[in-house]
Symmetry: C2
Subunit: 199 residues, 2 copies
């Protein structure tokens, strides 16, 4: 991997973007390099030219790209989860984002479990992205605690994990049943759980 010309950077970007959609729709193990090659109108050599580490490195890039997209869709609420209204708005943003996806979007956590067996290093890396996401929730809850909006016995980190788990589970069921309803129910449940700690 040496320097990239403008053309090269464009090709690389095109590969990542198209590959992301393919992987989201069909899973990591369900997407072959040939699928990606076909879906991007490129050749094998280009894939390995831009991602010398092969599929593993490509998956890294895909995970980072997708996480940026997902986090972006939750702005600006994700950064300012300081009031109960913010949490509601965040919920709506998440639902809207996943409802608008044409592809069956996979949960970041199921990507982790998929990688866990054959590529533990990448799994840890992708899980790091998930934890980054979860950390925004923790931070919001922590601020609300400091502002006296939560009961003293509320554990921000634990609550954030609960919300995140509900979210990921909701995405899982969304995919399995091909309906947005489970995600909505899961998020509403998570917010209800949060509110049970309301002061």
């Amino acid at each position: 991997m040496t320097r990239l010309t403008a053309k090269g950077a464009a090709t690389r970007g095109r590969i990542v973007e198209a590959a992301t959609d393919l992987v989201l729709a069909r899973g990591v193990n369900g997407t072959s390099l040939d699928d990606i090659r076909a879906g991007t109108a490129t050749s094998k050599s280009q894939l390995f030219h831009y991602f010398p580490g092969g599929k593993s490195e490509l998956v890294s890039a895909i995970a980072a790209f997708q996480m940026d997209r997902v986090l972006a869709a939750q702005r600006p609420w994700l950064d300012t989860l300081d009031t109960w209204e913010d949490w509601d708005a965040w919920r709506d943003a998440v639902v809207e984002h996943y409802a608008s996806q044409t592809h069956n979007c996979c949960a970041i956590s199921s990507m982790v479990t998929e990688l866990l067996v054959h590529d533990p290093e990448r799994a840890a890396e992708v899980d790091g992205h998930a934890e980054r996401w979860c950390a925004y929730l923790t931070a919001g809850l922590r601020r609300m605690g400091e502002q006296g909006k939560l009961r003293a016995d509320a554990d921000p980190e634990r609550l954030a994990v609960a919300v995140f788990a509900a979210l990921q589970g909701g995405l899982l069921l969304m995919q399995a049943r091909n309906s947005i309803a489970p995600l909505e129910a899961a998020l509403d449940g998570a917010l209800a759980a949060l509110r049970s700690f309301r002061l």
Copy 2:
């Protein structure tokens, strides 16, 4: 597939049991027939003798077998989710079951998403098992509603989906982070959400 002798039935059972543990630990796509062959001290021909439909049929048997195990671990509470104490006891049973598993137990829902691409029929079948599980939760909530223990605006089915999503998400995070804590947090959150509808 004709009649089975006692010996044949035993072999078949041995295959299913061992294969289940392998698949739970490494995922459907992460487990090859050769892995199963090695793990059960059998041969290829036996696999196809007892499961003429190949891997797909074997996966069916595995899913049914595992679902029976998981449901059994939740007895008797799963059948009688009529009081808040029952829900707490159920929660504890679930946590204990998954905490005691030596293997990294996969969530039934992640099995569905894994199958979704290459074997939609089996995915639907496995999802049926998941819905059967979820139905026990719905039934419990419905009875509690009839007994006047829930607010009138509580939707048993929707609440059950929320609980189930939290559970599945908790299992996902449990696997990803190799810790039982996320499952506990997720279930506690789900029960808190339920209690917010307490009358």
